[in-house]
Chain length 309, copies 2
């Protein structure tokens, strides 16, 4: 059995989680959550998205938020859907860009109102700009494991985007299971394929839990050597008004499981659970995360967590 010693966790709640909130979360509250996340020793946070405020009003404060982020030895990334977003993000001094294109036409149209080739046409300028400002770029492929409009997604369509990113200088690539259609065999197949094709690239996996398989997918991925995952505090993401709606992998659940398996995440479990409780209190509804409800394995620590919440 091949297991990594260390797994890197990117915290995406401030972007992927907040994106689906219907009410604007004030910058000050966002910063309190991000500070709580930092207390748990997370090293990379996807902090916001540089998109049109009319498309996603939640991120209208992106430049202001980035200016106020506590600067420690941490990487702040921002999602950028196009050249305009990339330019704004670089002006705001973000540490890393995450460019996103969907592997299917239908989903790319729905997500960014453009064809895949229109999105790709932007990449040269985005990467040139990023290079000029020494800002690394992660290339993300949405609906890599299945598309809600199309169903199965041919691997070559995922490959074409991955290759478009890498050939332009992306230092990491993300395969996103945007609507939770991945299952373990599909994940293993994809990870092995891209590790083989691009052995020097940091491959990040981003799993949603719409069909209950996200944690099993993570396990399948680490068993074939993947070591880099997106997770979200409290498991937020997806639609907040559907009770128990599936979001991302909860950061604290992933930290709990990996650390119990002897895999280092560098993240403090008690602190990240505290951050999840702060988030739950801030949002005012029950979050999908489980460890934040049950606490660690150790009965004394679990009792402490119960007293905290």
């Amino acid at each position: 059995m091949l297991l990594p010693d260390i797994v890197k966790i990117r915290e995406v709640a401030p972007r992927d989680g907040f994106q689906s909130l219907k009410v604007f979360l004030p910058t000050k509250k966002k910063l309190l959550i991000i500070n709580a996340i930092l207390d748990a020793n997370i090293r990379e946070i996807e902090a916001t998205s540089f998109v049109s405020p009319s498309a996603i009003p939640q991120f209208k404060d992106a430049p202001e938020l980035v200016a106020k982020l506590p600067r420690q030895s941490i990487t702040y990334a921002a999602l950028v859907p196009n050249l305009r977003g990339a330019s704004d993000a670089i002006k705001a001094h973000i540490d890393r860009l995450v460019v996103v294109i969907s592997a299917t036409e239908a989903h790319n149209q729905e997500n960014v109102r453009r064809s895949i080739s229109e999105s790709i046409a932007d990449l040269d300028a985005i990467f040139a700009l990023a290079r000029a400002h020494e800002t690394p770029v992660t290339g993300s492929v949405s609906v890599s494991f299945g598309c809600p409009y199309q169903g199965d997604v041919p691997q070559k369509d995922v490959y074409n985007l991955v290759n478009a990113y890498i050939s332009r200088g992306a230092t990491s690539v993300m395969l996103a299971d945007t609507t939770g259609m991945a299952t373990p065999n599909r994940v293993e197949h994809m990870v092995v394929y891209f590790q083989d094709k691009f052995p020097d690239i940091n491959l990040i996996l981003h799993f949603h839990n719409n069909r209950g398989t996200a944690m099993a997918n993570l396990l399948a991925a680490i068993k074939v050597g993947a070591n880099s995952f997106d997770t979200s505090l409290g498991g937020i993401g997806g639609c907040p008004y559907v009770p128990q709606a599936a979001g991302n992998l909860p950061t604290e659940d992933v930290v709990f499981m990996l650390e119990d398996m002897g895999i280092k995440t560098g993240i403090n479990l008690e602190s990240i659970i505290k951050a999840a409780h702060l988030l739950e209190k801030t949002l005012g509804y029950t979050l999908p995360g489980q460890v934040m409800k049950s606490g660690p394995r150790d009965p004394r620590l679990a009792a402490k967590i119960h007293n905290l919440s």
Copy 2:
């Protein structure tokens, strides 16, 4: 990679799920749910528990329910905590007994108000009675992977109970993660150990999702050859009044994942999702299951599910 071709699913919602309902669910409604489960072609159902009605009023209708179960080529099991329960279950013509003892003193006291040795002392009489009535017995070990009072559980304490069951003629043994403390390495270790010790025994795994690891645990188990699992319609179980409280593995999520991996369960996904929707309607609150919300991978089937719910 070693994967089973077929996985056996025991549906436990009518026992493990209904057990935690605070309001008595009328026998007629229980039978409607069980019938919906049967429509999905499930082959074994843990239908009820023969316990003192003062301890768990939900199961006061156990004899009446069992008498009214539709008799097809299906096995109905019942949980029995002691000789009295075993005797009542056999009188009711149940197909299989599930005897339960916890691997830790603290949990056994909390669960059945007896010491482990008091519980074991009942086993000879229970197995003799079962043998006399040609009723097979499954021996279940609660808190096999961790105890909320004690934390880690020594493997030898689990072994002692497994051995107590098998030496008395149990044809299957269940390792239960009663409060969701298992993680994949612990599961693999335990499965490999007991498969090696007792290669001819049907080893059933029963995972709760209190810490978000249940589906990963199932994957870990099948990867070392386990092929028999308890699951619960809609994921019910645990405390119904904690929103999004973790219950069992949702049957429909497990069926979705395994079938997508090419592993046969014999269960019809669309029908089991229908049954989960009936259960949700009957109970009147949102269930933890995810596939019942998102539907199958195929967009046409997913749309159909959305129209159903």
